[in-house]
């Protein structure tokens, strides 16, 4: 079990990409964490068939 990357994470400042609930990003900012909230939306307009197709295409 290689945990080199986790040790690296523990030794650096957290830099977070937040995907989803906005309040999680707001709270991280209050703790002086660098955070970038994404403008996340369901992929392919939430169309399940299209999503499955995109997955197959590796997109």
């Amino acid at each position: 079990m290689d945990v080199k990357k986790i040790r690296e994470l523990f030794s650096k400042e957290l830099v977070v990409i937040n995907m989803g609930l906005e309040s999680f990003a707001d709270n991280l900012r209050k703790e002086d964490v660098k955070v970038l909230p994404m403008d996340w939306k369901p992929p392919a307009g939430g169309n399940k068939r299209l999503i499955a197709l995109l997955e197959k295409l590796g997109r």
Partner: protein
């Protein structure tokens, strides 16, 4: 008077929408209000309550639906205006902050901050695994807050993470503390030499807060998601990975593991892994007591004791004494005073919990003392509440269970669910004692005890009105550094007549003292 609006391609997160819906429903003259995305489930709900139009028929999961029914046109128009204003404000940066560019894809986000090392994902469950997979493939650690992710997907994600040496916390991981920073639902705790790995959200919060209260500190607290040790297919992958990471972390001198009782084979693996770290370790598996010691691993009897053991070990000491703030005799006196004021028909304990693990800790304690507890978190025949919405006999209810949170916020965010339940319990003349938990910290309500105090006062008044006395015992999971202000929160509950104990375990022990005395009246 009804008004239904559909805004194409306007996506908002579920917690924000649920809170917006609640605020609209409370407006004068409003009978019903829904602000939600146009998912199949939401459209079905709108149909059921008669707030459906031709336009909603074509709504998609990316489209926002605002549906309001009110007594007058003015009330409805005003509610619509307020809803639109709140939504506009939210889409412009969450309230007053300067507008920032928000990338729509992970690739876009990484162009802006290529140094990103963690992705926090809390999108609806059906999309969550896809997003987590993409993040792992880009070499990023993941905290997956979302639930409703299949076990198969969880296994696949964790396999990928282990292969790539990354953290994959979750699915259904509500809390973690990395590098001293609280993530999602977490408390502000002191940094220190104790590392935690927990397959339980409220368990991690309770233990980390107890450690902080006892003067100890946390190096890292890793959440794994509840299924990590419970489901044979997941095979404790992230628990084992987390322990391995803490083994190599020079800041971590003591390791604590918290979980609901794991499958036997997995428990053995975890214990071997812990012994292999060469560091002193504390394990608390909720459920039947496994006390004592195996090599460098100590077993604790409850979550507060796990914290006390870890703090002692981090100071190079052994843990010897009980951490109860009330002696047997004192607890007995307090219980006596409570029971003396009760009416003769009051006989049952009712536990109303926001934290699932806190509910289980209380339940285990009562059952060890021979109380038959009914609950919505049980599966054994004869121990399951017929309806989670109605207590019978001695009952302990996890109000954070899916059955309560479908379409409404978790009780840690919105206290109204528990307020309604407290009123129900108070109306039952057989209720003797309410046992409650309050969880502070990020993610939680801004004034949970203030909200609770009001319903507690009403409930106590109602029971007193018919000549009885409702005993209420609570604990607060939080620290002095949490934004809600622990001392003030405690004061609010105490002013409402609650007995507030320093931990969930101690609240449960005091409740047990009361209920033993109640039971002896019925013998």
């Amino acid at each position: 008077m009804k008004k239904i609006l559909v805004r194409k391609n306007a996506y908002y997160d579920s917690v924000f929408l649920m809170l917006a819906t609640k605020a609209l429903k409370q407006r004068p003259g409003i009978k019903e209000a829904v602000v939600a995305m146009g998912t199949e489930v939401n459209l079905g709900l709108l149909k059921e309550i008669g707030l459906f139009s031709g336009e909603t028929e074509s709504a998609k999961p990316n489209d926002l639906v605002i549906a309001i029914e009110g007594e007058t046109e003015e009330a409805v128009e005003e509610a619509c205006r307020i809803a639109e204003e709140a939504l506009k404000k939210r889409s412009h940066g969450g309230g007053g902050e300067k507008e920032e560019y928000r990338p729509v894809s992970l690739e876009g986000a990484l162009k802006i901050i290529p140094e990103a090392n963690l992705v926090v994902i809390s999108v609806p469950g059906m999309y969550a695994a896809r997003e987590a997979r993409r993040a792992l493939n880009k070499g990023l650690h993941v905290m997956l807050f979302s639930d409703h992710v299949s076990v198969e997907e969880e296994v696949e994600l964790k396999e990928t993470a282990v292969e790539r040496g990354l953290l994959m916390m979750g699915p259904d991981c509500g809390t973690a503390i990395l590098n001293g920073k609280p993530l999602c639902f977490a408390n502000v705790v002191r940094r220190g030499p104790i590392g935690l790995v927990a397959a339980s959200g409220s368990g991690l919060q309770e233990v980390s807060c107890c450690i902080d209260r006892m003067g100890g500190g946390i190096s890292q607290a890793i959440g794994t998601g509840g299924r990590d040790l419970q489901d044979q297919r997941v095979r404790g992958r992230m628990m084992l990975m987390g322990i391995e990471a803490l083994k190599h972390d020079p800041e971590t001198r003591v390791i604590v593991v918290i979980s609901k009782p794991p499958a036997e084979e997995l428990a053995a693996k975890v214990l071997s892994k812990l012994e292999d770290t060469g560091k002193p370790c504390v394990v608390h598996f909720l459920g039947p007591k496994a006390l004592g010691r195996r090599g460098s691993v100590r077993f604790s009897g409850n979550m507060e004791e796990a914290a006390a053991m870890a703090v002692a070990l981090s100071r190079g000491e052994e843990y010897h004494r009980s951490c109860l703030s009330l002696s047997e005799a004192e607890a007995s006196r307090v219980a006596e005073a409570e029971v003396n004021r009760m009416a003769s028909e009051q006989r049952y304990v009712r536990g109303l919990f926001a934290g699932g693990t806190l509910a289980i800790e209380a339940m285990v304690l009562f059952e060890e003392e021979g109380f038959k507890i009914l609950s919505n978190v049980r599966k054994e025949p004869g121990r399951v509440l017929k309806s989670p919405h109605r207590s019978e006999g001695h009952a302990i209810v996890d109000l954070g269970d899916d059955v309560f949170t479908l379409g409404r916020p978790h009780p840690m965010i919105d206290p109204s669910l528990r307020e309604e339940r407290i009123a129900k319990e108070a109306a039952d003349p057989e209720t003797a004692l309410l046992l409650l938990d309050v969880v502070l910290g990020y993610g939680a309500h801004e004034d949970p005890c203030g909200a609770l105090a009001e319903s507690v006062s009403k409930a106590k008044g109602q029971v007193a009105g018919r000549g009885g006395y409702l005993s209420i015992i609570a604990s607060i999971t939080g620290t002095e550094k949490d934004f809600q202000n622990m001392a003030e929160q405690k004061k609010k509950l105490e002013s409402a007549g609650c007995l507030v104990m320093p931990s969930n375990y101690q609240a449960s022990v005091l409740a047990l003292h009361v209920m033993r005395k109640v039971a002896s009246k019925w013998m």
